[in-house]
Amino acid sequence: MPSKLAISYHKVTKRFGSLTAVGDVSLDIAEGEFVAVVGGSGSGKTTLLRLANRLIEADGGTITVEGEDVQNVDPVALRRRIGYVFQSGGLFPHLSVADNIGITPKLLGEPAAAIVTRVDELLELVQLDRAAHRDRLPEALSGGQRQRVGVARALAARPRIVLMDEPFGALDPLTRDALGDDYRTLHRKLGLTTVMITHDMTEAILLADRIAVMRSGKLLAQGTPAELSNSSDGYVLELLRTPRRQVERLNTLLPQSGAA
């Protein structure tokens, strides 16, 4: 049933000159699913994500979003209905927090009053104090607050799909953990479909329903964490070894703490 798929990549290829950034990748993401894309730097994760909302165009294969071939959809309209959280926040430095959050509704021509209400809703949703943050410029925010604004901006036009490119990568571990949890809650509450890129397997395991592993533009493996641990691929097992070792070490260092 293709209508149940939020995003579907079929034999998708993207080349930059002689470099194949994404090669022959097929991946289905069901509605309501939270998929993490994991892989080393330069493995093609960002490229794969940007293909979905046509920030770049594929050289081969087909991509469908909610059943429609993206080639048949106006790219601007496509981007307005898919939330995108950028790696470094991507907040516009000359716009206030409220204007950043309200940008996509504004582009969609929603009335100003409705946008004001929506912005307040979203600030609450991402747990930022309204009065204190609305009118600030992004430079006056901490890294964690900025990413919360980034998430709020992605959700502003009530998208059903959210793409996130290493959203919490640059944050300190505590903030990162909190934000990850908060987002996971939102994902469930709003019934979103989320594709999140991370290079941190631990984060992927903790947040995602399914994990896709990329290496050199290829999709090496995909599945639930349990399925992946049965993989025979050396690289996949190598990636899983880090969280395992962390768990073991934590267990010896923090006896009876029940942290997990």
């Binding site: 909302n53 920030l55 601007v76 309209a77 981007r79 307005r80 995108y84 950028f86 790696q87 470094s88 991507g90 907040l91 516009f92 430095p93 000359h94 940008i103 996509t104 582009l107 969609l108 901006r153 036009a157």
Partner: protein, 518 residues
């Protein structure tokens, strides 16, 4: 007399509405045109390295052309364009004054606007442009909502630089017939009226500063999204334009315009001519400081109504003749030739402003030198000085050929210093100008030219084609013809070179009229 009680400040102030008004109008029009061209070009080429490179190279080259030369180049260019449009579309426009000045200044403003525009737009973090696309902006929305606002500070810095350049360079538009604050500076330099020079420089500096501050206000307002501040700046600029429009709009432009080139004698004679016309009940104004290549064309095109030129100048520059005729014959032939262009050579004023070889009177008498022929026998032991162009002019070649002149040394000098140099014996002979007042002051003598190697340079009154049948004008000018002898003109020029209130062209013109009336 103290600096501040000098009546020339008052005289300068009286010209301010006219000069400042014209200066503001041409500068802001040029800036507006420059921005209207440069900003879209900067936006269009921001992601295209090849055209961007060509554009920046072009703008840089324009910038290396000295302002004065750029302005002067636009005049013949527009004359050509005007003759083409006249021939093809029956459309004629004035290539004089406002248009060439505005176009040249607009071109001049392009480099800082382009360079800062491109730098500002290219300096934006690509991640932000990506984010603009990602949140669903079209290319146009990204430009208007993200790229331009982010590039604004750098772009505005370029616009402010351009504004200051244009306002400063606009002072150089005087010689191509655009009234500007440069009128003070050109007139002041030529007539040694330092009050005027100072006034002109101060006024243009203050204007540049004011416009820069107002643009700064607009920039700050836009950046802080403070409408009131940006509005205040915009209102300031608008008020500046309005304030400079009001006093000069009502002025009638139907009067006679008397042209003058950029040296003291011309300032005096144009003031004298203007006074005569006004005395005859005609409305008249002087348009001074015009370049010598511009002024004749301006007369021909009717942009000015009359001016005084010199027979030898037109003989060489307009008729392209290199043969030499006696004074009266040359004027007669010139008159016929100019009549073909419908230009009236009304008559001679009576004196000549020609090149002449000049020595201290005592020295010439001691050596027994009266003529250039006498000089040639002594030349090999003597040194000569001339202005920057003399030794490359046909007069010098003709002199050398006719008299076999061979000097021990030849030097180039600033004309103002030549006379003092020959008086003090630093050089033995100079190539001076026959009507220069300093000849009398330093007790110098001009040597006769028995072989007529130097063409005559009679001062002649010329009328524009549209004034050919204007009998009232001719009658008003009649009293000047043949009435100014060389001694009188020398004294007038000497007075004009003084540095006090009695030395302004207007004052000297009144004195000169007193002498003529007698």
């Amino acid at each position: 007399m103290s600096l501040f009680t000098d009546p020339r400040w008052g005289e300068a102030l009286a010209h301010l509405p006219d000069y400042l008004g014209n200066h503001v109008r041409v500068s802001l029009a040029a800036l507006a045109l420059g921005l209207a061209v440069s900003l879209p070009l900067a936006i269009l080429t921001r992601n295209r390295p090849a055209p961007r490179g060509i554009l920046l190279a072009f703008a840089s080259i324009v910038q290396t052309v000295p302002g004065l030369a750029l302005l002067a180049l636009f005049y013949p260019l527009l004359l050509l364009a005007a003759s083409v449009t006249l021939a093809w579309f029956g459309l004629s426009f004035s290539a004089f004054g406002f248009l060439p000045a505005m176009l040249a200044l607009a071109l001049y403003s392009m480099l800082p606007v382009l360079r800062n525009g491109i730098t500002g737009l290219n300096g934006i973090d690509p991640a932000l442009i990506e984010a603009a696309k990602g949140v669903g902006m079209t290319a146009r929305q990204s430009l208007l909502m993200v790229e331009l606002p982010l590039a604004l500070p750098v772009m505005m810095a370029g616009i402010r630089t351009a504004a200051v350049w244009v306002i400063g360079t606009a002072t150089l538009s005087t010689p191509i017939g655009q009234t500007s604050l440069g009128n003070y500076i050109f007139a002041g330099l030529q007539t040694q009226n330092w009050v005027f020079v100072l006034f002109g420089c101060l006024a243009s500096a203050l204007l540049a500063l004011a416009v820069d501050q107002l643009l700064g206000l607009i920039e700050g307002g836009l950046r802080q999204r403070n409408r009131a501040r940006a509005g205040l700046g915009a209102v300031g600029i608008a008020a500046l334009v309005a304030a400079t429009l009001v006093p000069t709009m009502g002025r009638s432009s139907s009067g006679y315009v008397v042209g003058a080139k950029t040296f003291a004698e011309q300032y005096v004679l144009s003031a004298l001519t203007r006074d005569r016309l006004q005395a005859a009940g005609l409305s008249a104004s002087a348009r001074s400081g015009l370049g010598s290549s511009v002024i004749f064309e301006a007369l021909k095109a009717g942009d000015i109504d009359l001016y005084i030129d010199y027979s030898g100048t037109l003989w060489t520059n307009q008729l392209h003749r290199s043969d030499i005729k006696p004074r009266a014959e040359l004027v007669a032939e010139l008159k016929t030739a100019l009549a073909k262009d419908n230009i009236t050579l009304l008559g001679e004023l009576g004196f000549e402003n020609a090149y002449a070889l000049v020595m201290p009177k005592k020295r010439a008498e001691a050596l027994g030198i009266r003529t250039i022929a006498d000089l040639s026998a002594h030349a090999s032991t003597l040194s000569i000085a001339g202005d920057y162009e003399f030794f490359s002019r046909p007069e010098w070649a003709a002199l050398q050929k006719a008299y076999g002149l061979q000097f021990r040394a030849q030097r180039q000098m600033q004309p103002d210093f030549m006379y003092a140099a020959v008086a003090s014996g630093e050089v033995d002979v100079i190539a001076g100008y026959t009507s220069d007042g300093l000849i009398a002051k330093y007790d110098l003598v001009t040597l006769d030219d028995p072989k007529h190697a130097i063409p005559p340079y009679d001062a002649i009154l010329l009328l524009a084609p549209k004034r050919a049948g204007d009998e009232r004008l001719k009658t008003a000018l009649q009293p000047l013809l043949g009435k100014i002898d060389i001694a009188t003109m020398r004294e007038a020029n000497l007075r004009a070179s003084g540095n006090d209130a009695n030395s302004s062209p207007d004052a000297v013109a009144r004195w000169l009229w007193g002498k003529i009336k007698q």
